[in-house]
């Protein structure tokens, strides 16, 4: 457990404030000179703070966009076009917000994969990991509802497909869908509530982020070697070492972000969303945003019922099974700390685990591709295999590896390992 250090500001006004509200100490204990941090964090450790920065970008750009946007089915599309054409710098702010969602997900996906590779979910960081997953779920809900707001074709049909997932729930499914819609189809009441919730959820995310950072403070940062900090020789202060490293990473990340905003602002979007929503015309193919594609592929991969063999009795219809599989793909991550029981945290010392880790990455890429294709020809089969591997990785491969893998010897301490490689 991390030690808490009281700040003693030299400045009189600061000291006065600190006595009444120890906020300087709070910041100092999270990212300051009094936050001892493992000395060997590599660039994969940048993506947590990058995700935090993207949350700030989304909050600021989103609050500004809400000043010009109209959540009404008759006016929403036009109000977005007005932002693009007439509002001062509206185009810039909207492109920041639309591409910002993608870059937020890029940062978070890399952050999650880093956690998977280096075993960041293992004791004592299980709650830290699970809070991260809660943030991920909230982000998905927020992004989905945000995509509906411009009221283009993809907005409308994406909303229709995703809300209809709940109709798969036995008995009360249709009532739930009606409740979500506030009518008999995705319509004005749906748009209004999505706007309300799209504005609310980022602040809920901010709250969970604070818990996430708090849990990190309590359990300390992990590190690429996955061994515990043994002495102060293993550590350096967060500031200035990691504030500078994070700032440099942010500059590079934002340069790429800017390239998208200014040179290819629509590369990650779908052209059909520049067609106003039409409830009578389904687009040629409904494609979610890229960051949902692996889960969309899992949803669509299930096309068979589960029933009693040799009878017509269906226990779980294909539609429900697909929905269950999609949600299970995320739920399974909550159990990861107890599925991967290997004592060694870092993939660096787990040669076999490392191979399977890259299988999982490839599998996610394949599922992303499948999710973007029409469900024809070879793709449904590829999707089913990809889905099977995804679950097998977590439910079969990791538990077995924990039992049978021969791990490499761990270094004695971080300092010893780092000094050795320096020579």
């Amino acid at each position: 457990m991390a030690e808490w250090i009281d700040a003693k500001p030299k400045n009189k006004a600061a000291a006065w404030l600190e006595e009444r509200l120890p906020i300087i100490g709070l910041v100092n204990n999270v990212v300051g000179v009094d936050t001892p941090t493992p000395r060997n964090l590599n660039y994969w450790w940048n993506f947590g703070s990058l995700a935090g920065l993207m949350l700030v970008v989304q909050l600021i750009s989103g609050i500004v966009l809400a000043m010009h946007y109209t959540p009404n089915t008759l006016m929403a599309f036009d109000s977005v076009e007005r932002i693009m054409r007439d509002v001062n710098y509206g185009w810039l702010i909207r492109y920041m917000h639309a591409n910002g969602a993608s870059f937020f997900f890029i940062a978070v996906y890399i952050h999650i994969l880093r956690g998977l590779y280096y075993g960041s979910y293992k004791a004592p960081r299980e709650v830290l990991w699970m809070l991260g997953l809660v943030i991920f779920l909230l982000m998905m809900a927020t992004a989905f509802m945000g995509y509906v707001l411009p009221w283009g074709q993809m907005s409308f049909w994406g909303a229709t497909v995703i809300t209809n997932l709940f109709s798969a729930v036995p008995v009360v499914g249709d009532s739930i869908v009606t409740l979500l819609w506030g009518g008999f189809s995705v319509d004005n009441p749906t748009l209004n509530r999505f706007f309300s919730l799209h504005y609310l959820l980022p602040f809920v995310i901010t709250g969970v982020v604070i818990l996430h950072i708090w849990a990190k403070k309590v359990s300390d940062s992990g590190n690429p070697l996955g061994i515990d900090v043994k002495s102060s020789a293993d550590q350096i202060p967060f500031h200035p070492f990691y504030t500078v490293k994070d700032a440099f990473g942010a500059a590079v990340f934002f340069a790429v972000f800017a390239a998208f905003i200014f040179y290819m602002p629509n590369a990650l979007g779908h052209p059909d969303n520049y067609i106003p929503a039409d409830p009578f015309v389904t687009p040629d193919s409904i494609v979610p945003e890229w960051y949902f594609l692996p889960f969309y592929a899992i949803l669509r991969s299930i096309t068979f019922d589960i029933g009693i063999p040799f009878t017509d009795v269906v226990i779980i219809p294909a539609k429900l099974l697909g929905v269950i599989a999609m949600f299970a793909a995320i739920i399974v991550l909550f159990f990861l700390p107890w599925l991967d029981t290997s004592k060694v945290r870092s993939g660096k010392f787990r040669p076999t685990f490392r191979i399977f880790f890259w299988f999982l990455v490839i599998d996610m890429v394949v599922l992303t591709i499948v999710g973007g294709k029409k469900p024809e020809g070879i793709w449904p089969v590829v999707g089913l295999i990809g889905t099977a591997y995804y679950f097998a990785h977590f439910l079969v491969v990791l538990p077995l590896l924990a039992k049978f893998e021969k791990t490499l010897p761990l270094p004695e301490s971080i300092a010893q390992a780092v000094v050795k490689t320096d020579k």
């Binding site: 049909w157 229709t160 409740l179 506030g182 009441p189 009578f280 669509r300 539609k319 697909g322």
Partner: protein, 184 residues
């Protein structure tokens, strides 16, 4: 603690306290649920949304083999004037081959067998299937084809292939006369 309580209050006193705890928590729970209900129910369709008119359709404009889309309750309804071959095809299907077993007769009204009236909403995830307009892809079974996830419906609107679990829903409708249909 409990032993001390028991000696002071006696067994009767302890159980009375338990009862008060349960009763207070129970009443609080019921109160919370009652207070929550308006905030949940406000999401359900409002009175103006529920005040739905029915729709009348002029059938004389729909030629044999053609179909139209009607908007009813904000949703599309397909009205199809089927050819004799299409009706024969719908009747010739082996029941065992169907996912959602229904005869063609159960899906149309007696004496009006050529008119097929179904909701234009794929029972998988709510897309509008293709096949109503001339030149549309009607799928492998000559009815409708949903481009979203590849569900094929036959000339009776029954699911034949793909992920959809049910046949296209048949709404409530009546024939006012030979050329007027009332949906709803």
């Amino acid at each position: 603690m409990s032993t001390i309580n028991e000696t002071i209050d006696g067994e009767e006193g302890a159980s009375r306290r338990d009862f008060l705890h349960v009763a207070a928590a129970g009443l609080g729970g019921v109160g919370a649920a009652v207070a929550a209900w308006p905030f949940i129910d406000q999401m359900n369709p409002a009175a103006d949304t529920l005040a739905l008119a029915s729709v009348e359709v002029d059938l004389s404009a729909i030629g044999e083999g053609e179909a139209v889309v009607i908007k009813w309750r904000g949703k599309p309804v397909f009205v199809r004037n089927r050819t004799p071959e299409e009706i024969a095809e719908a009747n010739s299907v082996d029941m065992a081959a169907l996912v959602d077993k229904q005869t063609d007769a159960e899906r149309v009204q007696e004496g009006h067998e050529k008119w097929l009236v179904v909701m234009g909403i794929c029972t998988h995830l709510g897309c509008v299937p293709l096949g109503t307009k001339a030149g549309d892809d009607r799928g492998d079974f000559g009815g409708w084809f949903c481009p979203c996830h590849g569900s094929h419906y036959d000339t009776s609107g029954r699911i034949r292939k793909g992920p959809a679990p049910k046949n296209l829903e048949v709404p409530t409708y009546a024939f006012l006369n030979d050329s007027t249909l009332k949906i709803g």
